[in-house]
Subunit: 243 residues, 2 copies
């Protein structure tokens, strides 16, 4: 196992940070590393809002569901899928352009994710801890207004970055056999069952077993309600009509 693979396999989300700031030059280096990720047809369909204003950070704590590390981390980045820049660039050539395709939503969402993951890895390689904040989609309209996001740009997730002030465990993952299939999808029930046992033991050891009992149970809150049911309408309003 080489050092990079060792780094990748040691990832865990960091939610408590030292007061020490990330040097600005390092942050820029991390973003450049992000930009080096593969991008569909060279489109680079992403923008990052670096939230340095203290008041905005405090408002984002509320808008993401009270996650205090959104304010207490050294840096907070809002990763946006951005079709505006490329749409306007194409339009500037004099051609007529089509917006709002579902395909464009996918391209931009994938593009920003690949870029963000490069930033996460670059950060971790420098001893910086990170935490993705999906809660940015709790109130995407309010976040968009707060950061003046234009049409064809939507906030996909946030990321807290800072020097770790705790050392959480690496959380188990599904057996590789559940995820890696050969030539067809097949059936992975046996691996899910094995993973339920793994997570049962994990929760028992860490939480005394008085909360969630296994992986399947941990997923229930994601599916027993219409989670973030505003996303469809929000995206359409933002110019991602899904057609």
């Amino acid at each position: 196992m080489n050092d990079t693979i060792r780094l990748l396999k040691s990832h865990r989300s960091i939610r408590k940070f030292e007061e020490r700031d990330i040097p600005k030059e390092l942050l820029i280096e991390l973003v450049r590393s992000g930009q080096s990720a593969a991008t569909s047809s060279h489109i680079q369909a992403y923008s990052i809002i670096h939230v340095t204003d203290k008041q905005l950070r405090d408002q984002l704590v509320e808008l993401t569901g009270g996650q205090k590390y959104v304010a207490s981390s050294s840096d907070f980045l809002v990763f946006c899928a951005d079709m505006k820049r490329s749409l306007e660039a194409a339009r500037s050539t004099g051609e007529s352009v089509v917006s709002g395709m579902t395909e464009q939503l996918l391209v931009a969402t994938v593009d920003v994710s690949l870029m963000a993951q490069n930033i996460a890895i670059a950060a971790e390689s420098e001893g910086v801890g990170i935490c993705y904040i999906g809660g940015i989609r709790n109130n995407p309209q309010a976040v968009s207004e707060l950061l003046s996001l234009p049409q064809h740009v939507y906030p996909v997730f946030g990321m807290c970055l800072g020097y770790p002030a705790h050392d959480p465990d690496v959380k188990p993952r599904l057996p590789v056999e559940a995820v890696l299939k050969e030539n067809s999808y097949g059936d992975d029930t046996v691996h899910v069952n094995a993973f339920n046992l793994t997570m049962h033991n994990y929760y028992q050891a860490r939480r005394g077993g008085n909360k969630i009992s296994n992986w399947s149970q941990s997923l229930v809150p994601l599916f027993n309600q219409k989670l973030r049911s505003h996303m469809q309408e929000f995206l359409v309003d933002k110019g991602f009509e899904m057609k």
Copy 2:
């Protein structure tokens, strides 16, 4: 700049491969590295179809628009956004579950992208070259049938992996100032113009200037037509109703 950041910044897509195969143990190590990426609420909403069957590989060359390296690379992986496994796990607890939310499409698309990017980096750290294949979305229904993908699973992109048999340039990226914004979205026209000049010079040097003249022009084919207009209906059919 540390070695990991140097690695990230040296990425370029590889489309010509040596005949040498990637050892199976290494491929599994790469996938485990992928699984170590952050995942929303521990959902791990992804599956990979490792296409080892020669006939399937040849069919996938056709379905992705004649990209021969889909067959000639050592390994070809189809990355799927997978809500089936977690939906069924949650349902197995006896709870009623909701599927088809736009939010679920986003979660799974982001999850599989973060995982894939970890695999890309792990691969490159071992001297393996990669190329993402967005062309998997040219014929997603046919790909789904070929690989027996069930409801709530959709193919997002493919990835060719193998030992590089060429050494292409690292392609320029937008100025970091275009992508990294402070506190609000703002205007990046000046940076796009600068990048148009960068890419103009890049194309001049490499192609004698007789094809695309700058970045804006290179994007026109992505927007002057309804590219992959089947995606909306395909996703709805696959159980991603977007509600």
